[in-house]
């Protein structure tokens, strides 16, 4: 930890969507976590657990109408602390791209198809760093080079469809790091890429965090990515963090049955051929509301009647950094061993595709 106050402190973030006729959907329901400079924090969970909505809420990119955002997200800036959720839209636009940056999931659809790559990089340099003309182009080429795009000067004039998938993601990362943001959010940045490119992109992100001291919020469902990259991990379920811990305790000693289930469902290279995977049974559709009890209870192998007595409280274990939200925590998980932790990003398959 570089300072006594964290770079970003998200406290009880909630996002509810109101749709006419359909009532309210709580996508994020009281998520709290902190981000530190030079550290990677993971938000892990299956589809629909609220991880992407969390990132969009922090960036202020949710639609204006029909959305209710609650809680706070206090960010430390040179000029003082600000709550990202309460900033004026104009102020937020100034921060986005310069202090806060985001890398999106699908690099092809996230790039404008009719604008050359160079222009898409220089426009952010013009906006936040006041650079113009050839200086901006030169800086853009330097940025592309830094993220590992060969022959960057030629690439500046090319369009997204002329680049490969990995190259496009690198270009998006170049745009994200263009103004040396203090905080970067990566929303499943490797999902659309093949495994070898995934590893390269993760390596690049890791280097950027180490060199620039950026805080990285890594959103993923891929436990291989988490094991290889994240320092701190928040496991989300149905819009709430069910377990929060640094990497080692989380993998070695997971306490929440959902975390254990996730870890148990990771395909293993050393498992015998043809051995079936162990999925978390049921689907998110089986959830109950957090107000009635633990949302995961209907899918949990360890649930008791206590699980249905209102929302389970937060419990701190160990040195206080390992937090879970479960009334029947698992004491010692012999389900997983250290090999998952040691292996690099080996998980190519989507965890959630098997639901």
């Amino acid at each position: 930890m570089s300072s006594s106050t964290p770079l970003l402190a998200v406290d009880e973030l909630s996002v509810a969507f109101h749709r006419r006729g359909a009532g309210e959907t709580r996508a994020v329901d009281g998520v709290s976590f902190t981000l530190e400079e030079g550290r990677v924090t993971g938000l892990v969970g299956e589809s629909g657990c609220g991880k992407s909505v969390t990132s969009l809420a922090l960036m202020g990119l949710l639609p204006d109408r029909g959305v209710e955002v609650g809680g706070s997200a206090v960010m430390r800036l040179p000029e003082g602390e600000v709550d990202l959720l309460r900033l004026s839209r104009r102020r937020l636009r100034d921060l986005r791209g310069s202090q806060l940056a985001m890398i999106f999931q699908d690099p092809l659809s996230s790039l404008n198809p009719v604008v050359p790559i160079g222009r898409q990089v220089t426009e952010i340099l013009k906006r936040h760093r006041g650079m113009r003309g050839s200086a901006a182009r030169k800086e853009a080429a330097d940025l592309l080079y830094r993220v590992g795009i060969p022959d960057p000067t030629r690439r500046l004039n090319e369009y997204p469809h002329q680049l490969s998938g990995g190259m496009r993601q690198r270009a998006l990362i170049a745009m994200a790091v263009a103004c040396k943001p203090r905080l970067m959010i990566a929303d499943e940045p490797t999902t659309a890429l093949d495994v070898t490119i995934q590893a390269q992109i993760l390596e690049l992100l890791k280097d950027l965090v180490t060199e620039e001291g950026t805080a990285l919020l890594m959103i993923t469902h891929d436990l291989g990515v988490v094991a290889g990259l994240c320092d701190d991990i928040n496991v989300l379920y149905a819009g709430r963090a069910v377990e929060t811990a640094p990497r080692r305790p989380l993998f070695a000693d997971p306490t929440h049955p959902y975390t254990v289930g996730l870890l148990g469902s990771v395909p293993r290279l050393d498992a015998p051929r043809g051995e079936p995977l162990t999925p978390v049974r049921g689907s998110v559709n089986d959830n109950i509301a957090w107000t009635d009890g633990c949302a995961f209870a209907p899918r949990c192998d360890h649930y008791t009647m206590e699980c249905l007595q209102g929302p389970p409280p937060l419990v701190r274990t160990g040195d206080g950094t390992h937090i879970h939200r479960c009334v029947n925590p698992i004491d010692h998980a012999d389900v997983v061993d250290q090999t998952v932790l040691e292996s690099p990003a080996v998980v190519g398959e989507d965890e959630e595709e098997r639901e």
Binding site: R93, R96, S110, P113, V115, I124
Partner: protein, 334 residues
């Protein structure tokens, strides 16, 4: 780019060839040949046969088609049965008027339709959106000739704001250079002619613009709405770009692509719409000439008109394809 254009031009040959066959077959199948239109009702069968022979209508179909094709390729569309002058000459004489009218209609449709559609999308569900969607529905549903009549009755004959007929007020002298009145007026600095010609173009232009205006408004609205939800617009916002940059470079630039295609098709269809509009406003263009030709069964003129529309369509489409490839780099690559 040059190769692209040459390739597209070569593709025109089979298109127009196929069209000529369709047109020829269609002409063969029409009931009541020209011998009924040209000769008085009490003419004998022998007289009709003689006329068919003199027009070459008794030859085998293949021979007729080949001579039909040869004449078209030589720019000979036959002789108008109404005026006994070459159809080509009649078209050339009237083309500037119709072209001027079509351009006016297109300018009206684009300058109103694009901003209206864009604003409707931005203020989705608002009063303007409601008005734009409702208005364009009305524009598509209203027959052009009916709208032309209403405009003429209200604004020309009722309020007297605009002239009700012709291209120029009677008695106004002008120097003819190209046959395009507005263009000639600007070139010779006869500003009174320019204003007068423009005033004559407004009402028929509005009537003719109604359908393209409605279509462009709706398409722009739909396209902008779609693009606003695209990932790259979210990326642009995530970069903190100014709202105007996001809206112009990222939203509009992409949203206009399908609208450009539609504009090409609409511009082609204007010629067909001109037939009704011009006849209502006694506008001396190709449209009103063709309107009379339909009543007189003036087949050479009708054939020529269909060929002209088809050729315009094909060339406008070529222009659309070229501008499309300039706007969208993905098309260029193919």
């Amino acid at each position: 780019m040059l190769r692209f254009i040459v390739r597209r031009l070569l593709q025109l040959i089979p298109t127009l060839g196929g069209l000529s066959i369709l047109l020829f077959v269609w002409l063969q199948r029409l009931p009541g040949g020209p011998e009924y239109a040209l000769l008085p009702d009490d003419a004998t069968d022998e007289q009709r046969q003689a006329l068919r022979r003199s027009l070459g209508l008794d030859e085998p179909l293949m021979v007729q088609y080949l001579s039909f094709l040869r004449r078209i390729l030589q720019g000979d569309l036959g002789t108008s049965l109404q005026t006994s002058r070459p159809v080509m000459d009649e078209f050339f004489l009237r083309f500037p008027a119709t072209f001027e009218l079509g351009v006016t209609a297109m300018i009206i449709a684009v300058t109103i339709g694009l901003p209206l559609g864009y604003l409707a999308a931005r203020k989705r569900g608002g009063v303007l959106d409601f008005a734009a969607v409702g208005g364009s529905l009305l524009g598509i549903c209203t027959p052009v000739f009916f709208l032309a009549f209403i405009l003429k009755v209200v604004f020309a004959e009722g309020l007297g704001l605009f002239p009700s007929a012709f291209r120029l007020s009677p008695g106004l002298g002008r120097t003819d250079i190209t046959g395009f009145f507005v263009l000639d007026g600007v070139m010779t600095r006869e500003w009174d002619v320019v204003w007068d010609a423009l005033a004559h173009l407004i009402l028929p232009g509005l009537a003719l613009a109604s359908i393209p205006l409605a279509v462009i408004t709706r398409m722009t609205r739909a396209s902008v709405l779609e693009v606003m939800g695209e990932d790259y617009v979210r990326t642009a916002n995530a970069k903190g770009l100014h709202r105007t940059t996001v809206r112009t470079r990222h939203v509009l630039r992409n949203a206009l692509l399908p609208v450009v295609t539609a504009m090409g098709l609409l511009a082609g269809s204007l010629f067909a719409g001109a037939v009704l509009t011009e006849s209502v406003f006694a506008f001396p263009g190709i449209g009103s000439f063709v309107y009379v030709a339909t009543q007189e069964r003036d087949y050479p003129v009708l054939t020529g008109f269909i060929l002209l529309i088809a050729t315009m369509y094909v060339f406008i489409n070529l222009l659309v394809d070229i501008s499309y490839s300039l706007l969208d780099p993905r098309v260029r690559a193919q």
